[in-house]
C-alpha cells in the first residue's frame, strides 16, 4: 500500500466506522462500541506502520534527534521530501490536494489523537452506560459524531497542503459544535456550543487569510515546501520589513491558533465547552481540539521563529493566559471547570514555550534556541489532563462533580478517586511524573531566554505563581478525596454547575469499569515516563521531537531523568524555582485562602460581541432594506446610470453610435408604420403616470404592450410578437386580479414625484442608446476595432455546431461556410432561442429560478388559510361549473360530510 493511501485510510477510518455503526440496531451496544473503537485503533496501527516505514521518524531515513542544529539546508530538504507521502490530485489548480506530511510533529499528534481516541471511545461506553433511559440513543449519536471529529483532527495534523489543513480545521469546529451542544434541547448548552463555534470559526477565518497571504507571498502551498526551504524563508523573515505579507500571514495565523488554543482573552469558549458530556471534554480539551492551535504554532515554528514578531506576540499572550487560567482554576468548585481552567493555563504555557524558542541564547561558541523537547511538553499535558477529565466525569456520575461534596469520596470509590489523584500529581508536576521533567525544561527555557532579555524574569514569576496554583489544586484534590484535614468541605460554599449530567443505573463488570480504566491506562504513562525517562519515554517519543528543538540543553541525555535533575540542579535557579512553587503550593492548598469561586469576566465577551453583531447588523439592515419598493428601484436605476455613465466616460467611441449619416436620415420615413407604432408606445407610456386611477394605468400599460406587439409584427418577428402577446395577456389578467385585492386607492395628490421625471427620462434615453450601440456596434472607432454589430455576431454564431460528431449530416448553410464559425454556436437557426438557451443559458437558469422564487413568495404570503379550499376535498364535489362561485354550497356539503 502506498503511504498516501495508508495515511488516507488512517484519517478516514474513525468517521467511516463511526457511520457504519448507524446501521446497527440501537440495542447492540457492545458490538457498536467494538466497531467504533476499531476506527481510531486502525488509524493508530496504520500510523505506527507509517512511522516505522523508511523515511518516517522511526525509520532510517528520517531526521530524529541525531540531526544536529548545524544541519545544512540541502539534506534537510531531502529529509522533508522523505517525510511526505505521494499526492492524490483533488483540485490542483486551487492548490488543494491530498498529501500528508508525516514528520515527527504531525505523526506524534496523530498518534496522540488516535491513541487517546481509542481510550475515549471505550470510556464513552462506561460513561453513557447501558441501562440509562437515553443511553442507547446517546451512544447511537455519539460514535459517528466523535468519529467525524477524530477524522477532522487527524486531517489537521497530517495534511501537507496548507489549505487542506484549513479544511480539516473548519471540520473540527463544526464537529466540536455538534459535540459541545450535545444536549440538543438544553438552550444553555446550545448557546455555549455556538459560542465555541463562533470563536473558533473566527480564528478559522484568520487562518484562512494567513494561509492565503503566505501562499501568495511565497508561492508555497505545502507545509513540506515551507520546511524544505527553511533557510530561504528565514532570510525573508529576518528582513520582514521588506516582506510585510509574511508579517500579516503570521499575525492572521496566530489569530487562528490563539482562538483555537483558547488564548486570553479568547479562552472563554473552553470552560464554556464543559457543557459537553465528559468523554467529549476529555478528548477535546486534553489532546485534540485545543492543541490544534499549539500544533499550528509548532508547525510554523521552524520557519516563523525567525520573525522578530514571533516571540513578541506569542510570549505575552501565552504568559497572561497561563497565569490567568491558573488563578481562576484555583477558585472554582466544579471539577470540570477547575480542569478546564488548568487546561487554559497549560495551553498558555505551551504557547509561551514556542515563543521562548524563538529566542537564541549564547552557548559556548554558538547560539541555541531556548526550547527543548516540545513534544514531551505536549504529550505530558495530554497524559494527565485526559485522566483528570475521565475521573471527573466518572465521579460526577456516582457522586457529584462539586469538589466540596466529595470529602472522603476515596473510601466509597477508590478506583475512580485513585485515578484522579494520580493524575493530579501530574498536574502538580511532582517528581516521579514526566510532568516534573517537562516543567523543569520549561523553567530552563525561561532561564536561558532571560539571560538574553531580562524582562523574561517576569514570565518566570508568572510561571511560579501558576505552578503554585496547580500544586494547590492537587493538594486540595488529595486532601478532599481522602477526607484529610484541610480538604474542601461544604463550608466552602456550594456551587451549582449547569453542565451535562448523565444518569444511569450503577453497573458492574468490566464494561462498567470502562468509566475509569482508560484514565488509569493513560496516567500510567506519566509515571513510566517519570521514572524511566530514557528507557521508556525517550525511546517512545524521542524520535518525534523536532530537530529544531530537540536536545538543546540535554542533548546527550535525552529527556533528563529524575536523578540527573536533582543532582545537577542544586546550583541551578530553575530547580529552586520549582521547589519554591511546590512548597508555596502545598501551603496555599492547605490554607483557607482563595477557596470561594470567582466568575470569569471573559464570559461576558461573547455575549457582548453577539449583542453588538445582532443590533449593529439590524441597524445596517434597516438602513439598506427600507421596505419601500420605490427606494429599491431608485437604487437599482441609479447604479445602472452610474455604471453606464462610467463606461461612456471610459470609451468615448460610444458617442459614435448616436451619429446618423445622411443616407440613413433620408430613409427615416420609409419605416412609417414602425414610426407610427413607436409614437403610440411613447404616448401611452407618457400617459401612464398622468393618471391616478390604477385600472386606467393598467389599460395604458396594456395598450403600450400591444403596440409593441404590433411593432414586432411590422418588423417581421412573429415569435417575439407572440411571446409579447402572451405576456401581455397574462400580465393584464394578473393586474386585474391583483387590483381587486388591493385596498381602496388614496385620492391624495402626491406632489413629491416631479423629481422622478428626469430619472425616468435619463434611464429611457440610456436604454435607447444601449440598443443603438448593440445594433451599430461596428461603426465609429471603437476600442475594439474588429467588433461586429452584436446582431451579426449572434446570427453568425447561433448556427453551425459540429453537427458531424454523431455521424450525422452537416446541414449546408451560408453561416457555417466560415470554418471558424463551425466550432462555435448553439446549433439552432432561431437566434432568439439560441441566445436564450445557449449564449446566455446561465442567465436563463437564473431567471427561471427567480420566477420560481417569486411564485413561491405568492404561495407563502397567501397560504391556503381555509381548509375547505383544499383541492383534495373539492374534487369530490361534482356540480357543474357556473358563474356563481359555489362557496356557500360547498360549505353546506362540508358540514354534512
Amino acid at each position: 500500500m502506498s503511504p498516501v493511501w495508508m495515511v488516507m485510510i488512517a484519517v478516514l477510518a474513525p468517521v467511516t466506522l463511526g457511520l457504519v455503526t448507524l446501521w446497527l440496531p440501537r440495542t447492540w451496544i457492545e458490538r457498536r462500541m467494538a466497531i467504533a473503537v476499531a476506527g481510531p485503533l486502525l488509524s493508530f496501527i496504520l500510523l505506527i506502520a507509517t512511522a516505522i516505514n523508511v523515511g518516517g521518524p522511526l525509520g532510517t531515513g528520517g531526521f530524529g534527534q541525531d540531526d544536529g542544529p548545524g544541519e545544512h539546508a540541502k539534506p534537510q530538504a531531502a529529509a522533508v521530501e522523505h517525510l511526505t507521502t505521494g499526492v492524490l490530485n483533488w483540485m490542483p489548480s486551487l492548490n488543494i490536494n491530498f498529501a500528508f506530511l508525516t514528520d515527527g510533529l504531525g505523526l506524534f499528534f496523530a498518534l496522540l489523537v488516535s491513541g487517546i481516541g481509542v481510550m475515549i471511545f471505550l470510556y464513552a461506553r462506561g460513561y453513557f452506560g447501558k441501562a440509562g433511559p437515553t443511553s442507547a440513543d446517546d451512544l447511537y449519536r455519539f460514535y459517528p459524531t466523535i468519529g467525524f471529529f477524530t477524522t477532522a483532527m487527524l486531517g489537521v495534523v497530517l495534511a501537507d497542503y496548507t489549505l487542506l489543513t484549513l479544511l480539516f480545521w473548519e471540520m473540527t469546529s463544526i464537529s466540536s459544535f455538534l459535540l459541545i451542544g450535545w444536549d440538543r434541547y438544553d438552550k444553555k448548552a446550545v448557546k455555549l456550543a455556538m459560542q465555541a463555534f463562533f470563536t473558533t470559526g473566527l480564528g478559522g477565518m484568520g487562518l484562512f487569510g494567513g494561509v492565503l497571504v503566505f501562499g501568495n507571498a511565497t508561492g508555497y502551498w505545502r507545509w513540506s515546501e515551507m520546511l524544505a526551504n527553511t533557510s530561504e524563508l528565514q532570510e525573508m523573515m529576518l528582513s520582514a520589513g521588506d516582506h510585510p505579507q509574511l508579517l500579516w500571514a503570521f499575525v492572521l495565523m496566530f489569530i487562528g491558533a490563539g482562538t483555537k488554543s483558547a488564548q486570553f482573552p479568547f479562552h472563554y469558549w473552553l470552560p464554556g465547552a464543559m457543557a459537553a458530556p465528559t468523554p467529549v471534554s476529555a478528548f477535546l480539551h486534553s489532546a485534540t481540539m485545543v492543541k490544534a492551535g499549539v500544533f499550528l504554532v509548532g508547525r510554523l515554528f521552524p520557519v516563523f521563529a525567525a520573525l522578530p514578531l514571533f516571540p513578541q506576540l506569542i510570549i505575552p499572550f501565552g504568559a497572561v493566559t497561563m497565569l490567568y487560567g491558573g488563578i481562576v482554576a484555583l477558585q472554582q468548585h466544579d471539577l470540570k471547570r477547575i480542569f478546564a481552567y488548568t487546561t487554559v493555563s497549560q495551553l498558555g504555557l505551551l504557547m509561551t514555550m514556542y515563543g521562548l524558542g524563538a529566542i537564541k541564547y549564547a552557548h559556548g561558541d554558538h547560539t541555541l534556541a531556548a526550547i527543548d523537547f516540545d513534544v514531551t511538553q505536549i504529550a505530558n499535558h495530554a497524559f494527565y489532563k485526559a485522566p483528570l477529565f475521565i475521573a471527573a466525569g466518572a465521579i460526577g456520575h456516582v457522586l457529584s462533580r462539586d469538589i466540596t461534596q466529595l470529602n472522603g469520596a476515596f473510601k466509597k470509590h477508590p478506583a475512580i478517586c485513585g485515578t484522579m489523584m494520580l493524575a493530579a500529581l501530574g498536574l502538580a508536576a511532582v517528581p516521579g511524573t514526566i510532568s516534573f521533567q517537562a516543567k523543569e525544561l520549561f523553567l530552563y527555557s525561561i532561564y536561558h531566554a532571560a539571560s538574553v532579555n531580562p524582562w523574561l524574569w517576569l514570565v518566570m514569576a508568572m510561571t511560579i505563581v501558576t505552578a503554585i496554583c496547580n500544586v494547590a489544586i492537587c493538594v486540595r484534590v488529595w486532601t478532599t478525596l481522602m477526607g484529610w484535614k484541610g480538604g474542601m468541605t461544604e463550608a466552602d460554599g456550594h456551587h451549582h454547575g449547569h453542565d451535562h449530567h448523565h444518569e444511569h443505573a450503577h453497573e458492574h463488570g468490566l464494561l462498567a469499569n470502562l468509566i475509569w480504566l482508560p484514565g488509569l491506562a493513560i496516567v500510567s504513562l506519566q509515571f513510566l515516563g517519570g521514572f524511566f525517562p530514557g528507557l521508556f519515554w525517550g525511546n517512545l517519543f524521542g524520535a518525534f521531537e523536532q530537530p529544531a528543538t530537540a536536545g538543546n540543553y540535554f542533548g546527550e541525555t535525552g529527556v533528563p531523568n529524575l536523578w540527573y535533575v536533582i543532582t545537577h540542579a542544586f546550583s541551578s535557579i530553575p530547580f529552586w524555582c520549582s521547589m519554591l512553587a511546590l512548597g508555596l503550593g502545598v501551603f496555599v492548598g492547605l490554607s483557607k485562602l482563595w477557596r470561594g469561586t470567582v466568575k470569569d469576566f471573559a464570559d461576558n465577551i461573547y455575549p457582548a460581541m453577539y449583542w453588538l453583531a445582532v443590533t449593529g447588523g439590524g441597524r445596517c439592515f434597516r438602513l439598506v432594506q427600507t421596505g419601500n419598493l420605490t427606494h429599491y428601484l431608485l437604487f437599482v436605476l441609479f447604479a445602472l446610470l452610474t455604471g453606464f455613465g462610467w463606461s461612456v466616460y471610459e470609451d468615448p467611441a460610444m458617442w459614435s453610435a448616436l451619429s446618423l449619416n445622411s443616407g440613413e436620415a433620408a430613409r427615416f420615413f420609409e419605416y412609417w408604420p414602425g414610426m407610427l407604432l413607436g409614437l403610440i408606445v411613447c404616448l401611452t407610456a407618457i400617459l401612464i403616470p398622468m393618471t391616478e386611477i390604477r385600472i386606467v394605468r393598467v389599460v395604458f400599460l396594456g395598450a403600450c404592450g400591444f403596440a409593441v406587439v404590433a411593432l414586432y409584427l411590422v418588423y417581421q418577428a412573429p415569435d417575439l410578437a407572440l411571446t409579447q402577446l402572451m405576456f401581455e395577456i397574462i400580465s393584464v389578467i394578473l393586474f386585474v386580479i391583483v387590483l381587486r385585492l388591493l385596498p381602496k386607492e388614496k385620492s391624495t395628490k402626491d406632489t413629491g414625484k416631479l423629481w422622478r421625471v428626469p430619472i425616468a427620462v435619463a434611464v429611457g434615453l440610456m436604454f435607447g442608446w444601449m440598443t443603438l450601440i448593440a445594433v451599430e456596434g461596428n461603426r465609429g472607432e471603437f476600442s475594439n476595432p474588429g467588433a461586429e454589430p452584436l446582431g451579426v455576431t449572434l446570427a453568425q454564431h447561433s448556427y453551425g455546431l459540429e453537427a458531424d460528431e454523431f455521424g450525422n449530416p452537416v446541414l449546408d448553410t451560408a453561416m457555417s461556410k466560415d470554418p471558424d464559425v463551425g466550432t462555435r454556436g448553439g446549433g439552432g437557426k432561431n437566434i432568439v432561442n439560441v441566445i436564450l438557451v445557449d449564449f446566455r443559458g446561465f442567465d436563463t437558469l437564473g431567471e427561471i429560478t427567480v420566477l420560481g422564487l417569486a411564485a413561491m413568495g405568492v404561495w407563502s404570503m397567501l397560504p391556503h388559510r381555509r381548509r375547505k379550499n383544499d383541492p383534495k376535498r373539492k374534487v369530490e364535489t361534482d356540480y357543474p361549473a357556473c358563474a356563481i362561485d359555489p362557496l356557500e354550497h360547498q360549505d353546506a356539503k362540508g358540514v354534512t360530510a
Binding site: N808, V837, D838, T844, V858
Partner: protein, 141 residues
C-alpha cells in the same frame, strides 16, 4: 366570466392550444418558438380553462399543485446544465445532433431542448399558480 359559448369553444381551443404550445417548445431551436413562449401559450390556455370551467374543474384537470411543475422544470433545467460537468465540459455545454429515427428526415434534437422544456414547465407553473391562487383570493374576498 363563464359562458356557454366560451365553454363549448374551449373544448376545441384548449387541446389545440396545448398542442400548439408543445409544438412551439419542441420546434423552438430552429424555428420561431421556444420554451418560454410555449409556456406562456400553455399558461394562457390553462387560465382560459380556469375562467370558462371554474375552479373545481381546474382542480380536476390539474390535481397537483403548480409548484410541482416549477420544481420539476427547475430540476430538469438544472440537470441539463449540470450533466456536461460529468463529462468534463463546461456548464451548459450543448450538443445539437440530428437523430435518425429510420423514418423520414433526421430530427434536430439539441440537448438544449431539455433545458427549454424545463423553462416551459417553470413558466406554466409560475403563471398558472399565481393567477389561480390570486383568483381564489378574489373569490373569497
Amino acid at each position: 366570466m363563464s359562458s356557454m359559448i366560451l365553454r363549448t369553444a374551449n373544448g376545441v381551443i384548449f387541446p389545440l392550444t396545448l398542442l400548439f404550445a408543445l409544438y412551439m417548445a419542441l420546434k423552438g431551436h430552429n424555428a420561431p418558438g421556444g420554451g418560454f413562449i410555449g409556456g406562456l401559450v400553455a399558461a394562457v390556455a390553462l387560465v382560459l380553462y380556469r375562467m370558462s370551467h371554474g375552479r373545481e374543474a381546474m382542480g380536476r384537470l390539474m390535481p397537483i399543485h403548480p409548484r410541482m411543475l416549477v420544481a420539476f422544470g427547475l430540476t430538469l433545467a438544472s440537470a441539463t446544465s449540470v450533466i456536461p460537468l460529468i463529462f468534463g465540459l463546461p456548464l451548459l455545454t450543448s450538443r445539437a445532433p440530428y437523430v435518425n429515427f429510420g423514418v423520414g428526415e433526421p430530427v434536430h434534437l439539441p440537448t438544449a431542448m431539455w433545458f427549454d422544456l424545463g423553462v416551459l414547465f417553470v413558466v406554466i407553473g409560475v403563471s398558472v399558480g399565481m393567477i389561480v391562487r390570486l383568483g381564489e383570493e378574489v373569490d373569497e374576498s
